[in-house]
């Protein structure tokens, strides 16, 4: 999943970005409100983390503009303002969640996951395709009875494909959601990653292919045909 973090305090932004990346998310970051709005408008993010007091354009204004543009990306306000009025104002503008500084990083990641699931209308952290099971909270992948060890990036890619199980996912979608701005769009990093993922989810007991290539379209994850 791809996250946008708009927070002007560099000292806080840096560790949050680190934590999100370590959890397998692609993260774009900025400390300026106007740039944040531009990024949110230009890219398709799964979750946006917004500070309220921002230079250029404040968090409320960014959210208001995004909703006016028809952008329904889940937004989590990350702010020092903790009064009921502030929370209500944020939620009324269309924010999906509100987290007051200081927070436990685990809580922030859990909320980001929940918002990401909500985006794909999944109420449970456990995703299943055939005998492949992914728990996005526990960060576990099990095939049959075997627990698989995946890198953070492969886990994110698998999660993204499983969230959209049965649908064709284009390379552009994967690039947009899994890789941040620093990824080179011209490289074959996606094909390489998908290939690596196919290998990673194979076990001696269960090696039926789950990720299928749709030529010219993209990839689809679905149960193997009988």
């Amino acid at each position: 999943m791809r996250i946008l973090l708009v927070e002007d305090a560099v000292s806080l932004r840096k560790p949050v970005v680190k934590a999100l990346k370590a959890s397998g998310y692609a993260v774009d970051e900025t400390g300026d409100g106007e740039e944040g709005y531009w990024l949110a408008s230009e890219h398709e993010y799964d979750v946006i983390l917004l500070d309220i007091m921002l230079p250029g354009m404040d968090g409320h204004e960014i959210l208001k503009k995004l909703r006016a543009d028809g952008d329904e990306t889940p937004v989590l306000f990350l702010t020092a303002k903790d009064t009921i009025e502030d929370r209500v104002a944020g939620l009324r503008l269309g924010a999906d969640d509100y987290l007051v500084k200081s927070f436990a990083i685990e809580e922030l990641i859990a909320r980001v996951e929940a918002l990401g699931r909500r985006r794909y209308q999944k109420s449970t952290p456990v995703l299943k395709v055939g005998d492949l099971e992914l728990n996005s909270s526990a960060k576990k992948v099990i095939r049959g009875k075997t627990e698989l060890k995946l890198s953070a990036q492969l886990f994110t890619l698998l999660e993204f494909l499983m969230l959209r199980a049965g649908e064709v996912v284009t390379r552009a979608d994967i690039e947009e959601h899994i890789y941040d701005e620093q990824a080179d769009p011209m490289s074959n990093v996606i094909d390489t990653a998908v290939c690596a993922l196919r290998r990673a989810i194979k076990t001696p007991e269960s090696d039926a292919p789950l990720i299928h290539t749709r030529r010219g379209q993209g990839y689809i994850i679905s149960e193997p045909a009988e």
Binding site: A9, L12, K14, I105
Partner: protein, 485 residues
């Protein structure tokens, strides 16, 4: 505190009752006096009639029936009655005749008693039936009127006087005339009853009217009270209606609205302060916490820079907390002062030296004009805090390649700090000394939490000095002046 309504009721109602009672008494006694005066007139007329009573023809055949008794020769029968006759045993019959003559024309409700004097005996009307009318203390030629009671309990109004006639050697006869007072007494009782009943009814009616009028009249106050009761921190933007307020309470409403405006401003300032404080404390705290948690959870992501960041953030937090504590001490006047003679120029030099490095780093010129002859008795510690904060503020917010002007003993100020402030507007001036106020509402990370000028102001107040601020052609001038400058 007793309510206005209760106070008005407790004053007006007893006053009305007292006035009603006084009026009732006045009516009662004036009516009584009038009734008695009527009785007295009646008695006086009877007395006149009695005095001028005419002899009856059949009892005095020698008298010319056509001859009128002259007014000054009244009751001639008594006057001409021979002494022997009056004293003789035959007087019994004569007395009877006299009595008959005197009392025949008297109506039945008139009592009369006549003392003929010097053992002359007395005559009384039959209705006295052996009883006697109480005599007045003294008889005279002038009539006296008095109330008396018969032995049978009948109340009487009596008239008593000597008849101004001579009866030879005898004294002039003493006459008491009386009429029954029962009718008048009954009328007076009825009047008293009516007055009491009417008075009570009037009091009740007045009470009701008073309560109603007070309720109507005090309704604006009640509405005002209800509106005031509904006011809380969330409704400070609301105002009491001045248009609908009666003229009597309009000054109060105007004052209340003015207080509400001040309260709203204070609450807004406090809210701003608590929001800013939350930001200033929570953001570095969140950064420290997150940095530490990330380093713990993903040790491979940690770097020495994280420790450096944590160190910087904790120092900044401590600075903010120290500033708050200092400000609190200054504002509560608990800071002890050590007053000595101070030369501000020397202190200013030290403070400028402290900020020279930062100014050089930001390519800011510090232009100082320090008059060494200026001195004052003050606390050098607090004066240093003021100067340091003013210079620090100027260096922090002055753009590169600009000049900060620092003066001691120039113009009308003890100390003056002037710098370029192109972003500041005139309306910002009022907020400059507010705790944690920053022009940058986003409060992006900075070395300044917005406490410096508040601390400088609090220190100036503690030293009985004045800190003034003005914006002249885009330059901010903050001057420290003595109170009488």
């Amino acid at each position: 505190m007793i309510s206005i309504r209760a106070r008005l009721l407790s004053t007006l109602l007893p006053a009305f009752v007292c006035i009603s009672i006084a009026a009732g008494f006045s009516i009662y006694f004036s009516t009584k006096a009038e009734y008695l005066a009527r009785l007295d007139t009646e008695l006086a007329n009877i007395a006149i009639d009695l005095r001028f009573i005419k002899p009856e023809a059949n009892r005095d055949p020698n008298r010319d029936p056509n001859r009128e008794a002259p007014r000054n020769q009244s009751n001639f029968r008594i006057r001409n009655m021979p002494q022997e006759r009056l004293n003789s045993s035959r007087l019994v019959g004569g007395m009877a005749q006299l009595k008959d003559t005197l009392f025949t024309n008297l109506s039945e409700n008139v009592y009369c008693e006549v003392w003929l004097g010097n053992r002359g005996g007395n005559l009384k009307t039959d209705n006295l039936a052996g009883g006697e009318i109480t005599r007045p203390d003294a008889f005279g030629n002038t009539a006296v009127f008095y109330n008396t009671t018969l032995e049978n309990g009948s109340p009487l109004r009596a008239w008593a006087a000597r008849f101004p006639i001579m009866m030879r050697e005898k004294q002039a006869p003493e006459v008491i005339l009386a009429v029954d007072r029962r009718e008048i007494d009954a009328a007076l009782v009825r009047l008293a009853r009516n007055l009491i009943g009417g008075g009570l009814a009037a009091c009740l009616l007045f009470s009701g009217l008073l309560i109603f009028t007070l309720r109507i009249s005090l309704r604006p106050l009640k509405i005002l009270g209800e509106q005031a009761a509904m006011m809380d921190a969330e409704s400070l933007h609301e105002r009491f209606s001045e248009q609908s307020a009666p003229a009597d309470i309009r000054p109060i409403v105007v004052r209340l609205n003015s207080l509400m405006a001040k309260l709203e401003e204070s609450f807004a300032r406090e809210r701003r302060f608590s929001g800013d404080l939350a930001h200033e404390l929570r953001t570095p705290l969140a950064a420290i916490r997150t940095t530490a948690e990330v380093a713990l959870k993903w040790p491979d992501q940690a770097s020495p820079d994280d420790f450096d960041e944590i160190h910087k953030l904790s120092s900044s937090l401590q600075q903010t907390l120290d500033s708050l504590l200092l400000l609190s001490r200054m504002e509560s006047s608990t800071a002890e002062q050590h007053i000595v003679t101070v030369h501000p120029a020397k202190l200013a030099e030290e403070c400028i030296a402290l900020h020279a490095g930062k100014a050089e780093e930001s390519r800011i010129q510090l232009h100082a004009e320090l008059n060494p002859s200026v001195s004052l008795d003050t606390d050098p510690r607090l004066l240093r805090i003021i100067m340091t904060n003013l210079i620090s503020n100027a260096v922090e917010y002055t753009a590169q390649n600009n000049t900060v002007k620092i003066l001691v003993g120039a113009e009308d100020a003890l100390f003056l700090c002037e710098n370029e402030a192109p972003d500041l507007q005139e309306e910002d001036i009022n907020h400059l000394f507010e705790r944690m106020w920053r022009k940058d509402t986003a409060r992006t990370e900075s070395n300044h939490a917005g406490m410096g000028l508040s601390i400088a102001k609090a220190c100036a107040n503690a030293l009985n000095l004045e800190l003034t601020v003005e914006l002249v052609n885009g330059r901010l001038r903050i001057a420290l002046k003595t109170q009488n400058t």
